[in-house]
Amino acid sequence: MKIVVCVKQVPDTKGGVKFNPDGTLNRAAMLTIMNPDDKAGLEAALRLKDQYGAEVTVLTMGLPKADEVLREAMAMGADKGILVTDRVLGGADTWATSTTIAGAIRNLDYDLIITGRQAIDGDTAQVGPQIAEHLGLPVISYAQDIKVEGDSVIVQRQYEDRYHEVKAKMPCLVTALSELNDPRYMTPGGIWDAFDKEVTVWGRADLKDVDDSDLGLKGSPTKIAKASDKVPKGAGEMLAGDSPEDLVNALVGKFKEKHII
């Protein structure tokens, strides 16, 4: 079985957000991580590999530095890494990102493609289903469990108040939730091996059956009209009081003033 896992390198918003003096986001000062949903997707692929034997290829699109997440994935146990990077691919929205990744995947043999549900920087959840659409594959989003049975996958597809157990013939694409599993750690041996494994670097010329008009900033139907740092709501009033009782009395006083009670 051949599995392709799509991963993204993202800023670690959980570890705190750094701002430049002018108030813009200082991305250079923020740590980067493998996007959590993608990591769960990788873990799911590695478990299928452990169980049935599979070749796991990790693929990412990004700056040359994104090579780091491929090394991490290989240190966890992925077999091959592919980095899609090219200046003309910059500024892509989800449409242009998904056409790019689909163009890369067309070069590969695969039974199963796994992506994370969404990345923590954009939170759109669009790229996975859109890759499936470009490749004409069945898609099962929001997977909380993935099993393989013969030539099919059986996936628990999560909804707000239920899940569907869904069966799809491979090849197909599944988007993974971080709730799917607890990803394994890299092993020292794995880290060592990862440096011996090769990362293949692809540029624009390596993408199959994609028009220039569907790539990068130019190929993005959505355009940014305005971007700004969030203006925080004005901070409110810190209530004064030396004891919990004083504080509570001050708050109850405010509630009365506002006719809340």
Binding site: W95, Y142, A168, F255
Partner: protein, 351 residues
């Protein structure tokens, strides 16, 4: 991208999500917003209703503002599956050519929206918090045509750290998803009627029609925090599952509901359907108590529109105080029971 014939696209369309033949609240919320947009564009709002045996829901959509309802009624659409639904919605778009298509950012909409946008070759902006009609570029730029009557879609990014306003000037429809609870529905107009049109896009099952083997409904014993007027929300600082009793007591006195931050769910103290925030639910109660919640941006994104925010935290530097109307610095184990007691006395006295 196809830039021809954009002017053929007219009208505001809303995907009227239903599950088990019950319309989702987000459908009404999108109709409410759709009505505003349609007014600015001098056009109509159309609900797109997909399902099996769902025609009877059209009147309800009319009561919440739909001028027209397009119904695709077919047994293939009984349960949500990406393929027959994406085919149905994409076919409606190709036939009726709306200029705007709004979809709820639910577990269904966040699968259907991207698939359909890729199929009809247009842009999709996810999880919008503001939708308005305006110019693109917003300010005229020399040498570039300024287009009028564009949908400007504002959304948070980077976990709520930045806000971006997005336009889709050269493709139609302009598609957006909106999370439940973000837009306001109108007060229903009893007896309102819409023009109902049935449409059959012809379904031909192929490998993309996945098979549903089983449907497992979660046993729901938790309140819907999106409907609560008062939320007493706890974070990591509450310390333990048992300690949530303090919050339950406060909620009980006020007739409120307990909710929580992501850390609480990760620790297994409360179930995920009580989680507020970017990966949980968006809430806007009349009063939101943030207790032992530091105020990570992902959390704030889900509750900052509450009418009144009261924060209780031992750390005076906690970012939650930046969004709170009233801040109380101190030990929640002392403050919360004292508050419960004081409010109980006030409420008793007022009776």
């Amino acid at each position: 991208m196809n830039k021809m014939g954009l002017e053929e696209y007219k009208g505001v369309f809303v995907f009227a999500q239903q599950v088990d033949n019950t319309l989702d609240g987000v459908a009404f919320e999108l109709l409410g917003k759709g009505k505003d947009l349609a007014k600015d564009l001098n056009t109509e709002v159309t609900a797109v209703l997909l399902g099996s045996d769902v025609k009877g829901l059209a009147d309800q959509l009319a009561e919440y503002g739909a001028d027209k309802v397009i119904v695709v009624d077919d047994p293939e659409l009984k349960e949500y599956r990406t393929e027959p639904y994406a085919h149905a919605l994409a076919s409606v778009i190709n036939k009726y050519k709306p200029e705007i298509m709004l979809v709820g950012a639910t577990a269904i909409g966040r699968d259907l929206g991207p698939t359909v946008s890729a199929r009809v070759k247009t842009g999709l902006t996810a999880d919008c918090t503001v939708l308005e009609i305006g110019d693109f570029p917003i300010n005229a730029v020399a040498g570039q045509e300024q287009k009028h009557n564009q949908l400007l879609m504002t959304r948070p990014a980077f976990g709520g750290n930045t806000i971006a306003t997005i336009a889709c000037p050269d493709n139609r429809p302009q598609m957006a998803t909106v999370r439940p609870g973000v837009m306001q529905k109108i007060a229903p107009i009893a007896g309102a009627k819409a023009v109902v049109e049935e449409f059959n896009p012809e379904f031909t099952p192929d490998n993309r029609y996945v098979e549903i083997l089983n449907i497992v409904k979660a046993v729901k014993n938790t309140a819907n925090i999106m409907d609560a007027k008062i939320l007493v929300s706890g974070g990591r600082g509450v310390g333990s599952k048992e300690n949530f009793k303090l919050l339950e007591d406060l909620a009980e006195v006020l007739g409120g509901t307990v909710s929580c931050s992501r850390a609480v769910v990760e620790n297994g103290w409360l179930p995920v359907d009580l989680q507020v925030g970017q990966t949980g639910k968006t809430v806007r109660p009349q009063i939101y108590f943030a207790i032992g919640i530091s105020g990570a941006i992902q959390h704030v994104a889900g509750m900052e529109d509450s009418d009144l925010i009261v924060a209780i935290n031992k750390d005076a530097e906690a970012p939650i105080f930046d969004v709170a109307d009233y801040g109380l610095v101190g030990d929640l184990n002392k403050i919360v029971p004292a508050l419960t007691k004081a409010l109980k006395e006030e409420i008793e006295a007022a009776k």
